[in-house]
């Protein structure tokens, strides 16, 4: 592989890996928070 092509490949791999990682991080945060909220709401309904 040509050296410049290699650097282009590394650059783009980093960009999309970081974006993909951040998307997964948001997914995880969202599902954790949504689960906690659901449990709290159920607990609240159980107490009423």
């Amino acid at each position: 592989m040509d050296q410049k092509m290699f650097f282009l490949f590394v650059g783009y791999t980093f960009i999309w890996a970081l974006i993909f990682w951040y998307t997964l991080r948001l997914d995880k945060r969202q599902s954790q928070v949504a689960e906690e909220l659901e449990l709290l709401k159920k607990s609240l309904n159980g107490k009423l």
Partner: protein
């Protein structure tokens, strides 16, 4: 709720489509004569830089709005935007040296643009640390807002650095009073990359703000249960 979820999914698909089209346009764009293939890092490197600075501008505005109105929503938008600004600026600081190495023969120089961008990145990392170090909610929001306003002082310096000073290595401004310093055939890829990354920033911001609103709801329910 279903309508909101539908709109969210539509926005997600729109963002994905924009990013895919941007990638196609970038690889379809003509190759620069001297730098050849590696020059194509430029499209997302510059887009990330502009979006990073825009994200920090949003932090600045929302920090002011928080101090004036004391409404929590401005604090939420400020710190979610700060996190995104750090992500996009990280892309700039990593892709820049990757591009530079085969062209300049070095990973890094203490060029004014590079140095001020690195300072900007550290400032907004510190913003996150300031927030994390303070337990009390109102104090945390207030200190972070003040920090968010002061830290913004570096952003115009980063933007104007290559216009005010003779940059050692970093290329000049793409858009200036002299026009757009880009071959006509490269403009569609450039502007579409910028649009795609803008959509990506907005998509991440909306999702992050939604998560923080749910967290605030959880806190409100817990406070209600306890008191």
């Amino acid at each position: 709720m279903t309508k909101t979820k539908g709109l969210e999914q539509l926005f997600a698909w729109l963002t994905f489509a924009a990013v895919t089209i941007a990638m196609y346009l970038v690889f379809d764009a003509p190759m620069e004569k001297t730098m050849k293939e590696v020059q194509k890092i430029f499209y997302f490197h510059v887009a990330s830089a502009w979006i990073g600075m825009f994200a920090f501008f949003v932090v600045f505005v929302c920090s002011i709005l928080y101090l004036v109105t004391k409404q929590g929503k401005w604090d939420i938008i400020a710190y979610t935007s700060a996190e995104l600004g750090v992500i996009f600026t990280t892309i700039v600081l990593v892709t820049g040296p990757i591009w530079a190495r085969p062209i300049w023969g070095t990973w890094w120089t203490w060029d004014i643009r590079l140095t001020t961008t690195l300072i900007m990145w550290f400032l907004y990392l510190a913003y996150g640390k300031v927030r994390a170090s303070l337990g009390e909610e109102e104090k945390r929001a207030r200190y972070a807002a003040v920090f968010g306003i002061l830290a913004f002082a570096d952003v115009p310096i980063v933007f104007f650095a290559i216009r005010w000073w003779n940059a050692m290595m970093h290329p000049g401004a793409v858009i200036s009073t002299k026009g757009i310093a880009l071959a006509p055939a490269m403009k569609p890829a450039f502007f579409f990359s910028l649009a795609a990354f803008t959509l990506l920033y907005l998509y991440f911001l909306l999702r992050s703000v939604k998560i923080e609103i749910m967290r605030a709801e959880i806190k409100a329910i817990k406070d209600n249960l306890l008191g």
